[in-house]
């Protein structure tokens, strides 16, 4: 599973961190940092929730 971020859309709201804190975090400037671009399957549910929660639809998954 590979996490894709559309950086033109991401506004650093951090809803993704809320859903999948082991995969996404927000740095001190308020910008998104992907901690794990290829998370294991045990993260799938959390990452899917992060994708749904992102208000700008900046996130997607490639298998």
């Amino acid at each position: 599973m590979k996490v894709l971020v559309d950086w033109d859309l991401c506004e650093g709201h951090g809803q993704c961190e809320f859903a999948a804190p082991d995969v996404f975090t927000i740095d001190d400037e308020g910008d998104l940092e992907v901690l794990d671009e290829t998370p294991g399957d045990e993260q799938r549910a959390a990452v899917e929730q992060a994708i749904r929660r992102c208000p700008t639809h900046a996130l997607s998954l490639a298998d």
Binding site: G12, F18, D28
Partner: protein
């Protein structure tokens, strides 16, 4: 405007069901039969109510069509005066304003406050245990959020009592907290003066706290003017205080209603994380938030007109059977649990990690101490439709057998 033939007339400005704890029946009626419901207001223009999960998410996910800038309370007023808080602000100003504080409240940062949270919880539980019987809101639920938030902001521990008193007087429309007719104004002024002094102190000597971060932050190339700083402090205090205390009180009540779920948590304390999520769903401290339409929109076969108020009922969405199985039942191991207790979209709660840390620490330590907090009477509720808020709850603190 269409009126529905079926079902009883529902008036959400009638506070009786909210005060008596029957509001979920009213909200269920709307969700099932009148998913877009028009409510007249005696002293206002009236408002639409959205109660289905999908509709609530749709509205709060479209901040261009449904804005916060015209106010977020059901009633038509903005409370913060000349400027606007991050909450009552729309894009493009909203994102950059939110970024000033949000990074400092994220999960990783909240870990730095864990020692303070532990210490506050221990002191409160020592006191509760010593009393054996107490009024939970005053002796614990109201104290924890303000003590923690105060220290996160940079208010000295010994001044947190002042902060609690001001917020009780500013936040409450309740005569019982009011010492005179101009009390609200006076409390607000005292709090302003306190934060003004704190701001100046941190301007010359920054410390490891949120006031320092905001004072030294740049917003579009400039430091925030005093009005915007004050609005930021007020929204954090306003949003972080009542909400968290009501989740604590609401959780105690929910476990009284579903004692088997408490027993389950005692056996499986690793379920604490999903327990807190379930309580956010079941309790929903913020029942609803309001938006205002900027254009005519079709929803459920009706037209919302530009300028209409649209109230999103998170509480109704959180019990939508289309999304949650047995929605009126507490299941501490519920997964997935995409509740909207913290809202959804660009205005979703900024303090969610702090709130989770506070409430889960509270109940983790209750579990570790082998005690149980048991309601002795019905709670007294705050007289409001927008918030699920408790004024008083008498409880017994019992040592559990065999633990």
């Amino acid at each position: 405007m269409t009126t529905y033939a079926e079902g009883p007339q529902v008036d959400l400005m009638d506070l009786a069901p909210f005060i008596e704890g029957r509001e979920n029946e009213v909200l269920a009626e709307l969700r099932e039969h009148q998913p877009l419901h028009w409510n007249d207001e005696p002293d206002g223009p009236g408002f639409w109510s959205v109660t289905r999960y999908d509709d609530v998410v749709k509205v709060v996910s479209d901040p261009a069509t449904f804005i916060n800038g015209e106010g977020t309370q059901i009633l038509s007023r903005k409370v913060e005066g000349s400027t606007s808080t991050v909450h009552n602000t729309d894009p493009p100003r909203h994102g950059p304003l939110r970024k000033l504080a949000a990074p400092h409240l994220r999960a990783m940062k909240v870990k730095e406050w864990q020692d303070i949270i532990d210490e506050c919880v221990d002191t409160l539980l020592d006191d509760l245990e010593a009393r054996g019987e107490a009024e939970l809101v005053k002796t614990a639920a109201a104290l924890l959020p303000i003590q923690v938030l105060g220290q996160v902001l940079g208010v000295a521990r010994e001044d947190c009592d002042l902060l609690l008193d001001w917020t009780n007087r500013v936040i409450s429309d309740d005569p019982e907290y009011m010492r005179g007719p101009d009390e609200k104004e006076r409390a607000r002024n005292e709090m302003f003066a306190y934060f003004k002094e704190l701001t100046e102190k941190r301007r010359s000597a920054p410390a490891h706290d949120l006031v320092s971060k905001l004072v030294h932050a740049e917003f579009q190339g400039e430091p925030l003017p005093w009005e915007d700083l004050a609005a930021y402090y007020f929204v954090l205090v306003g949003a972080g205080n009542e909400t968290t205390r009501n989740l604590i009180t609401g959780t105690v009540l929910a476990f009284d209603e579903f004692p088997d779920q408490w027993d389950k948590l005692v056996r499986e304390p690793e379920l604490l994380g999903s327990t807190i999520e379930e309580m956010l769903r079941y309790v929903t401290p913020i029942r609803a938030m309001r938006r205002t339409a900027t254009a005519d929109v079709e929803l459920n076969g009706q037209t919302i007109r530009a300028g209409d108020k649209v109230v999103c009922w998170f509480q109704a969405a959180n019990r939508d059977p289309a999304v949650f199985e047995d929605p009126d039942v507490v299941k501490i191991d519920r997964t997935p649990n995409d509740h909207v207790g913290f809202g959804w979209g660009i205005h979703a709660c900024m303090g969610s990690h702090l709130a989770r840390a506070e409430v889960s620490t509270f109940f983790r330590k209750v579990l570790e101490r082998g005690i149980r907090i048991r309601p002795l009477a019905e709670p007294d509720r705050l007289h409001t439709n927008q918030f699920n808020a408790y004024k008083r709850l008498q409880v017994a603190i019992e040592k559990e057998d065999g633990r």
